[in-house]
């Protein structure tokens, strides 16, 4: 059987709601509906509530630490400013490094936080600490942002897995991000934006046979889980369900369905292809997509590294913002670009910059985030924050608010242990929110 025959190639809007779902939408379980598909059929209040439920996130993680001075917070012609100029953006008065010419033209969709001051200058601890929002230590391992959103918001009406991860190297189901949450809140990773291995059915198995097989598997699973239901059995079943869902959306991994124009706009390098995949996953209805890029840790020859690396971010990131805006999705999709820290203002004797959590920047835009705005500032040399500082906990509060996660859900229940979803000593950055 050919893959064409097996693939229904359904579109998000084709399964965005059913009569039963529609009727149920007025109750508590409204998460299974797509607001966009409802048009004017619903009570506006219900439609609005549904719309909130469809909020999504693209989280671009530049692992190792992008230099704030060569990106979001340039200090040209100063002691630590490096060789580059600052260029104007689409927002009068806001400048970024000349290494971000295309993103500069999308600045009206973005905000920059320039007064981040975080607590860890090592990768080994810093990556996890930032990704978990640096909560207070309560003897548990907190989830990464993607797992937290998957738990707090669940999947969208698409039924696709809520937390997908597009990354270089290997894929698979990565449970580590889930922390103390059940393993099923981990990330489904697509190595190099490719489909999981063996996603396609063996040619000798028909769709009908496969459905029967799945039914039998579920029976076995349920029998096995009786009386011993735990996270492992849950996660095991979940992964099968996810695989089944993905089999219905094999088109997402079919590169022939992407135009050459889009491939060129995003760039055919890894980060370009991965950000384009992120857009497609978001369009398909994935709740949270993380895109990783590695090797930004430019301790040596920083400026040539930046000239090689930053354009690979700039081009697809600008295209992503442009596309989300053109599709009317930016109101519902929160876009974040960040690392675990910035880089030292001091240029070491190997022409590199080291790790710098003292004063660095994050860029974000879309859902709930004010557009064309800069929060905070560093001093004239870019060495330290001038004025109020924000930590990652403030950003987690801000993002959860931007996603309209209700206040009543801002607490996990870890087997009876109440845990705040974000560091309770921090609060949302109000000036960042719309």
């Amino acid at each position: 059987m050919s893959s064409t025959q097996q693939s229904p190639l359904c579109k998000p809007w084709e399964h965005s709601f059913s009569r039963r779902q529609l009727l149920g939408a007025t109750g508590a379980g409204i998460g299974a509906l797509g607001a966009g598909a409802l048009g004017g059929m619903l009570d506006p209040a219900v439609a609005e509530e549904l719309k909130k439920q469809e909020k999504q996130v693209i989280f671009v993680w530049l692992d190792g630490g992008i230099s704030q001075l060569e990106s979001w917070d340039p200090k040209p012609n100063t002691q630590f400013g490096g060789p580059y100029r600052a260029i104007p953006t689409s927002v009068p008065g806001i400048h970024v490094s000349e290494l971000l010419p295309q993103t500069a033209q999308q600045m009206h969709h973005l905000s920059i936080v320039r007064n981040l001051h975080t607590q860890d200058n090592s990768h080994s601890a810093g990556v996890a600490r930032i990704n978990r929002g640096d909560p207070k230590n309560r003897g548990v391992v907190y989830p990464y942002l993607g797992s937290a959103v998957a738990k707090l918001m669940g999947p969208t009406s698409s039924g696709l897995p809520p937390y997908c991860w597009v990354k270089p190297y290997s894929g698979g189901f990565k449970t580590g991000d889930a922390g103390f949450l059940p393993a099923k809140y981990g990330a489904l990773a697509f190595g190099d934006a490719k489909a999981p291995e063996n996603l396609l059915l063996n040619e000798s198995v028909s769709l009908a046979e496969n459905a029967k097989r799945n039914e039998l598997r579920k029976k076995f699973n349920n029998r096995f889980a009786k009386g011993r239901r735990n996270e492992s059995t849950d996660a095991n079943s979940y992964v099968y369900d996810v695989a089944d869902t993905l089999m219905q959306r094999r088109d997402l991994f079919d590169e022939t369905k992407v135009s050459d124009k889009d491939k060129d706009r995003y760039g055919r390098h890894a980060l370009g292809r991965h950000m384009l995949m992120a857009r497609r996953l978001i369009e398909a209805g994935v709740r949270f997509v993380k895109v990783n890029s590695y090797h930004w840790d430019s301790h040596g020859d920083n400026f040539n590294a930046c000239e090689s690396l930053i354009p690979q971010f700039d081009r697809p990131f600008a295209a992503l913002l442009e596309d989300l805006n053109e599709r009317g999705m930016l109101d519902n999709v929160l876009v974040i670009a960040m690392s675990e820290f910035g880089r030292t203002p001091r240029i070491n004797s190997h022409v590199g910059r080291d790790h710098w959590p003292e004063a660095w920047s994050v860029a974000m835009g879309g859902s709930g985030i004010r557009r064309g705005h800069v929060v905070g500032k560093t001093n004239n040399l870019g060495t330290f924050v001038d004025g109020d500082e924000y930590d990652i906990g403030h950003l987690f509060h801000t993002w959860f608010r931007a996603l309209d996660i209700p206040q009543k859900m801002m607490e996990y229940n870890n087997d009876g242990q109440p845990l705040p979803v974000a560091n309770e000593e921090c609060s949302p950055i109000e000036e960042l929110l719309t």
């Binding site: 040209p76 200058n121 390098h269 690396l309 001091r346 240029i347 004797s349 590199g352 080291d354």
Partner: protein
Amino acid sequence: MTPEELLKRYELAPSKDDELIEYERQLWQARYSPCGRFLIGCGYDATIQRWDISGEKPQLMPELTGHNGWVQAIGFQPQKNRLLSADSWGQLACWSYAEQATKPVWSLPEAHPNWIRAIAISPNGELVATGGNSNSVRIWSTEDGKLQREIPHPDRIFSLCFHPKGNALVVGDLKGIIRQWDTSTEAGSQSGDDAKEVRQFDAAILFNDEAETKGRIQQCGGIRHLQFDAGGKRLVCTGQKQPGGGFATGTPCAIVYDWESGKQIREMPMGGAQDGFSYDAQFHPDGFVMATSTAFPGKGHVWFWRPEDEKAFFTSSKLPNGFSLSLHPNGNNVAHLTSKSPNGNGRALKDGEYVGGSARIRLLHFPIEVDA
């Protein structure tokens, strides 16, 4: 001379008696002027620093200002005691470096649209070639800064050098390719259409596309310096052998080519695979290459290596973190520039202050003086 005889004559040993010139910012190059009276430095603070070294102690002269970003490229035009300099914002300027005056003879604020990384002066002093991130070589009149011609180039340019005789210009790029261009111009021709690429020299070991070799995303390395010997029979280039991203560690390396045949004569790696770059090398009139390298604090060497020999006859790890070295026209002194800037993550304050890097130029003497 035998290697032993060369060592006896040219061994450099830093001592407490060496003249040290300290500068509060990091410098990229320190060069003796062709007249031997001045030492000129340029670097990270957009200025050009000058020291008059004709007296007992180096005397700092008024700095030359007007550049932006970094000044990484300087070159001398000996016929009129002029200095050409270029910066990372695309400006090219011409100075009378021996004068106290600090205004440029001329300057072109937008000579290139972005970073100019390399300058070369033609043997007759009439032309200055510039190249960098704009993927083109532009050739200007040193007299008035008028553009003579432009030669497009496929990659970022890191280094340039005119052959001491004739019209050949060699261009070193990110990808480890040295291209030889014929710069002889037809009357009135300013375009690059008639530029002739004569041949290429392969220095691919000084480049690494990690997307292909390691599944990473950085292109590393590049030909950081090019220099002919005085007779134009040999060409040396420098960089890092098998360069890497991140910490940018690799083996500093110089490579010498025979000009006539285009063949590589000697690869001269120095130090370990965890060192850094060689940004500078030059030929000594006695035929050996003088090179320096930098890496993380305390690493890097100065080495002298005759291309005919399998090994360097002089190596010193007591002169680490070298960014440039310059042989004085008298043949007896070497100015060795180092960066003094600590590595380290996080705050690392000194007496409550966040301190930046600085530069030190050590004026070294060969053990046996010769007549210039």
